[in-house]
Amino acid sequence: MTMNREGRPTRPETAGAVTGTTWTGNRALMLDEPLLFEIGDTQTTGVDFDPAGPGRESRLGGLERRRPIGLAGLSEPETVRHYTRLSRQNYAIDLGLFPLGSCTMKHNPRLCEKVARLPGFADLHPLQPVDTVQGALAVISDLGAWLVRLTGMHSVAMSPKAGAHGELCGLLAIRSALEARGDMREVILVPESAHGTNPATAAFAGYRVENIPANAAGRVDLDALKSRLGPDVAGVMITNPNTCGLFEPDMIAISAAVHAAGGLVYCDGANFNAIVGRVRPGDLGIDAMHINLHKTFSTPHGGGGPGAGPVVFSEALTPFAPLPFVERIQADEGERYVLVEEENADEHHSRSFGRMTAFHGQMGMFTRALAYILSHGADGLRQVAEDAVLNANYVLRSLEDVLEAPFGASGPCMHEALFSDKGFAEGLTTLDVAKGLIDEGYHPMTMYFPLVVHGAMLVEPTETESKAALDQFIGALRNVAERAKAGDPSLKAAPIHAPRRRLDETLAARKPVLVYREPDPAQAAE
């Protein structure tokens, strides 16, 4: 044994048998954390308040809350530890490649976080007098102007809160435009490969949804679409690039056919990141498209939101765009920004379909997205699309010998590479490959979507991955895929190194436990 002078061993002894179990159940840096309600109590608080002044009368209308609420509190050190420990049970883009197809998990620049927190943006009330928020309105106006230029469209609605809310905005504008010409159409056509939000949104907006099939090359079947168009069809919702990661080469023809039949074209812009700076949707005949700022312009996903879903419009739909919006007025003393709301809409915008949300939209996302856009500029945004597409094609061509790429033969993909489960050994599935990737230190790709491919695996690397990072990921996925093809039964047990093994989703749905309930003391005593 090697020791230093104090007798402390400085070299590991030969590792013996390892049991893996510990007294706490923790494993070094892998720390389990109880629920807040198991460690906190209603008498603990982590906030000090300045002593209140002399007591005054209560004006609560006799409705004082007397029953306990049951909100557990923790001191500040305990709070910081609780959430820090929980955070360490999450995978994140900061930790590694996050190839979740259609979700666009790219690096989130911290500059964007910094500017969003400037008090001049973060500490503004939405109902302050308009003269006191000219800088904030300038941000909304500037970002909107970039979005209009990048998409080649006519106008933009900034208030939608997320992609699906943007879809709703687009469909309400379409319906308003059709109704304005006395045209009460009832059907929206949606390709089978669409995001679930598309049909859900169409239904939410009062439309009946019909599917249109894909052709063998993973694109919208133009003939099938054309044959379904008619006086009852209000429009189509098309994702382009689509959810198979492919550009719709017939897009101009699709738009022309829909327009010829009196309908309008909605484009789901979830995948705009693949074409920003290289293609303007306005050149494809699109009437409305939402832009997920949290995808293309990298505002953080935050474990499920918030997002932001501005919608760009063609000239035909512009008069129907929702309130509020910002108008820039060039005056002698410099530019001024007007907020067009209910009160002044009549002069400017009398055909608006109305308001979709309180206040003005996701300001905190606007500042971040604008910082991202200004950082990249027109040249950098084009490079973003090119690198995203290059990275995806690199993954596609590096793995197509081991994983079936159902549309690989039809040419290059856009920003994401699609594989199927064809060739996996009996009993092994896409889910097993996904869980195997977790053990390799990766978040899995999107699985079982789009629905048009069996056992789909949709890999979106994004442009913020280096070649070295891609090569390592490709190696890992290759290895797991080979195990799946060889029928390696150990893959069924994956993940074995994650904070949890596979979770029982059936149990969760069958006996829903959606809130914590303190154990019944009578039962606990038994």
Binding site: A72, A92, H165, E505
Partner: protein
Amino acid sequence: MRYLPLSEGDRAAMLAKIGAATIDDLFVDVPAPARLPAKIEGLADHASELAVERHLGSLAGRNMVAGQGPFFLGCGAYRHHIPASVDHLIQRGEFLTSYTPYQPEIAQGTLQVLFEFQTQVARLYDCDVANASMYDGSTACWEAIAMARRITRRGKAILSSGLHPHYVSVARTMARFTGDLLETMLPELTPEPDTMRLIEAVDGETSAVVVQYPDILGRIGDLSELAARVHAQGALLIAVVTEPVALGAIRSPGEMGADIVVGEGQSIGVGLNFGGPYVGLFACQERFVRQMPGRLAGETVDAEGKRGFVLTLSTREQHIRREKATSNICTNSGLCALAFSIHMTLLGEKGLRALAEMNHAGAVKAALRLSSIPGVELVNDSFFNEFTLNLATEARPVVRAMAEAGVLGGVSLGRLYPGAQTLANGLVVAVTETVTDEDVAALEQALTEALK
């Protein structure tokens, strides 16, 4: 460019592996007329971090910051002090840069937070269950109306005149397309909310009565009798809470019989942010859970029997049910829900009650002081931290004049109800724990000056 790691050498090697001569070969599916040969003209090129920060800093400098002077705005967005640890914790990359927890084995952090968040919201509202958040209060309100239609199979909702006018606008926009009938009215500057009117209006065709608590003018009305009447007609009571801190002081809507409680969570942990992103809270009684919109985290066990959490009951949601889903919502307000949850954990029940008490005490003090100004009359009998003043003159110019004097003195009802003459003199004043005695004195002086 600093966010793009590929070198020119990498790009060349990768194109070679792909078998493409140039990057243009990867865009061959784009129809020729739509291919842009070069970057879009007339837009700026990339900029350094320093340059971007400087530019946005100058835009930020053109705004009047709420915290830099006396500040009294509310009406659906409130300025509260947020402990420093909240923003620190939500900026941990594992929270900030993670995705919707679709792979639960490596998303237990987010899932446990959501489970705790749901529990906090359910308890605050006194409901059985709560979801993992909505976009904001206004959209949550419409979703509740649509949910009540699905449950009752009736299409007429009666909206209290005390419901936030933006929430009414959102519902009106949607109802025009869904065919729901909405009964709405302008509020009146009376001491009590319109509970009695609602009790009389509810009938056998009503799907839901929607009532804000405290209401847009700050008034607080007992919902118990209304709930009984609504239930007797087979309808649902939807309560909307735009100021969650109030529930540290006043009875919860659930306790008084509300079936669905929705609201804005911004006050706790989120900050003003010029109106967004905020966090919509959504809770209901257990029997309605399968009609709820939005994501739900639920408890389960893993293959070794250890407790864990997953997204559950997803057969309600768009990615499974498509056009038959309960809502089209996908992305929610996860990070804001986290901020809410952390702040609520720091407060705990004791802290929330203390915070509410401080807010109310400050508001009572300010209301007495301001209503003694000549030409100023307090409208409310009851209020929490926000009350309405009826001025002797139109409030909008008064608000502007006070802003010029450096005081953001409240929200004029003329801003919220343009064209409504009966409300034009109304000024809604919110007093949170951030307001000092000096601030109230400044408002008193500015208001006195403006009314001269």
